[in-house]
């Protein structure tokens, strides 16, 4: 097991190198730079600025310099937020208030909502297959998958904040400000997980060992909880990796609609501003986060299904 984890962690290095190389190359192909303005800067100032940020060096040298700094967990200076480093822009501000932390909190709550509602919904649907409960649950989850979250977010704001006045319209900080964004972010995933759980549960309860469990006289509840549940959760666990990575690194739309100070906005603004180091920082952060989540998912398989072993 430990050997497996170590091997997976080492495999991360070439993946991250590739990701950084592709991003770096794409970035250099982009027309315009961080100092391109509608009114051009005087050449002298521009040259000075480029020298300061080493933009006058050959591209390969810039890339190696970036990698070297990355090894020291230094993501470099921001071109857009003058005088601040990317580390500060993304992670500065304390444990609770840092943009990366705000995004992670919102994402984690949304994941908990999705898992907490989606899995029971899927199980009940599967156990009541082809009854009206199943039909309604699956129709609702189809709606949930189909409504884009920015539309859902605006709709929720309009109903619960503007019309009814029950919850605040936007911003971040108090528990009541968490409700709407968490629902907005979590709905699609909840619906997706419900559909996945249902499909997987339906497959599991047709297996021989379930028939055996029933044949030896176990109560239905014991059959489901003891034998079917764990096995039906494997596909759900698989999607949790990418899901957590996508949500906990910040959703641009949800943060945009609810004016939440997370890092989701950097996924758009960094490219628009040509803030090279911020583009790299955001992509690398996402890639590392995703990789770690996927390793955790793989490890959790072994706990869910003892038949899965890693040598």
């Amino acid at each position: 097991m430990l050997k497996y984890i170590v091997r997976r962690t080492f495999w991360l290095i070439p993946v991250l190198l590739m990701v950084s190389l592709i991003t770096f190359t794409a970035m250099k192909l982009v027309p315009g730079g961080p100092f391109t303005r509608e009114k051009p800067l005087p050449p002298k100032i521009r040259a000075n600025l480029e020298a300061k940020y080493h933009l006058d060096e050959p591209t390969w040298k810039q890339y190696l310099r970036y990698l070297w700094n990355l090894l020291h967990f230094d993501l470099g200076p921001s071109y857009k937020y003058y005088g601040r480093t990317i580390n500060d822009v993304m992670f500065g501000g304390g444990w609770l208030k840092a943009p990366a932390s705000v995004s992670a909190q919102l994402g984690l709550i949304a994941v908990l909502v999705a898992v907490g509602i989606g899995i029971p919904m899927g199980i009940i649907s599967a156990l009541k297959q082809n009854t009206w409960i199943d039909y309604i649950a699956m129709f609702i989850s189809m709606l949930g998958v189909s409504i884009p979250n920015f539309v859902l977010g605006l709709l929720l704001i309009w109903i619960f904040a503007v019309k009814l006045g029950w919850l605040p319209v936007a911003r971040w900080g108090s528990p009541s400000q968490v409700v709407l964004p968490a629902i907005t972010l979590g709905t699609g995933g909840t619906a997706f997980i419900a559909r996945l759980t249902r499909a997987s549960m339906l497959e599991v309860i047709r297996q021989d060992y379930i028939r055996t469990a029933r044949a030896k006289g176990l109560k239905e509840r014991a059959v489901i909880v003891g034998h079917a549940l764990k096995n039906s959760l494997i596909p759900v666990t698989t999607v949790l990796g990418p899901l957590m990575a996508a949500w906990m690194t910040g959703s641009f739309l949800v943060e945009h609609v609810f004016a939440i100070p997370g890092i989701g906005k950097f996924f758009i603004t960094s490219v628009v501003d040509r803030d090279y180091t911020l583009i790299m920082g955001t992509i690398m952060f996402y890639a590392v986060f995703l990789a770690i989540m996927n390793i955790l998912v793989d490890i959790s398989y072994a706990f869910i299904d003892p038949r899965i072993r890693y040598e």
Partner: protein, 299 residues
């Protein structure tokens, strides 16, 4: 089984009358009410996109400054926006954007994914391993950021937006095709074809590809709502379709600021996106249920 699989590819060669598996699948699809509803809606969308100038009561650019921000009425069934343009007409014209992104995006991801997956699966071995590792790397990119990056690299232009969306969506198809090819190339009919001296290209186009077509259709159909969503998101942010041509995402974003006074400007385009995605999802689900029995045992 091999004979029946051949039948999918070339029904004409079959001895018995072609009450083929495709027809069975078609019948199964027609029995699925949700899929039929979704399919009908998609057909209506296609019709609106093709004949927008005749379907829409007004032109998308027609302004009427005496009638701005009006709620729905008999004259304007979905009201008018801040320039007095008819919202219903703009939504009809907007179908063009969603349909084109669905077609161009699917084609782009299909061409790249199919080629990549076919090469990887057919060659197999080390090459396959290396090519699939690259797919893993591609999955490590955050979708939206990468699309925008590709868009900026490709330069301005509506088609580039659609192509960028497709470029980022090919990995799923590649994995699927590769898996199909890996298993199909071990089947007896492939061996038989090779035995009689068929060349690689013939085996791929005549044997492997036709037998993978079902799962590919399912994957593409289920991918379309995602493509439409991404375009809506880009236009919502202001990076997609440039005004004045209407796109649903852009209309939602324009209506959003005045949501309190004129909710219809946000709700109707939002509804259009949601219903379209719902229709494609139902259709895709129905297609999968209809085609799946046909694929059972082949992969």
């Amino acid at each position: 089984m091999a004979v029946r699989e051949r039948a999918i590819a070339r029904p004409i060669e079959l001895m018995r009358p072609p009450t083929s598996l495709w027809r069975d699948a078609w019948n199964r699809l027609l029995r699925n009410k949700m899929a039929v509803t979704g399919g009908t809606f998609v057909l209506i969308l296609l019709f609106c996109a093709a004949f927008a100038p005749w379907v829409a009561p007004y032109h998308y650019k027609d302004t009427d400054f005496r009638n701005t921000r009006k709620p729905p009425s008999w004259e304007h069934i979905m009201g008018t926006d801040k320039l007095g343009r008819d919202v219903f007409s703009r939504i009809i014209w907007g179908t063009r954007v969603s349909i084109v992104v669905a077609i161009v995006g699917s084609l782009t991801s299909l061409v790249i994914g199919l080629t990549y997956g076919a090469i990887s699966g057919y060659i197999g071995g080390r090459v396959d391993n290396l090519m699939m590792r690259f797919v893993d790397v591609m999955y490590a990119f955050p979708t939206l950021l990468f699309i925008i990056l590709v868009m900026v690299v490709l330069g301005p232009g509506l088609m580039n937006v659609f192509i960028a969306i497709g470029i980022v969506a090919w990995m799923g198809i590649a994995r699927l095709v590769r898996g199909q090819f890996l298993s199909l190339k071990e089947k007896e009919f492939t061996e038989a074809a090779r035995m009689v001296g068929a060349r690689d290209i013939r085996i791929i186009t005549r044997h492997l590809l036709p037998n993978s077509i079902g799962p590919i259709i399912i994957a593409i159909t289920l991918r379309i709502p995602h493509l439409i969503l991404v375009e809506a998101v880009l236009s919502f942010i202001g990076l997609g379709v440039p005004p004045p041509f209407p796109s649903w995402g852009q209309m939602v974003s324009e209506g959003w600021r005045g949501m309190k006074a004129t909710p219809h400007l946000t709700i109707f385009p939002g509804l259009a996106i949601s219903l379209t995605m719902l229709a494609f999802n139902f259709l895709g689900d129905g297609l999968r249920d209809a085609l799946d029995p046909l694929m059972r045992g082949t992969s």
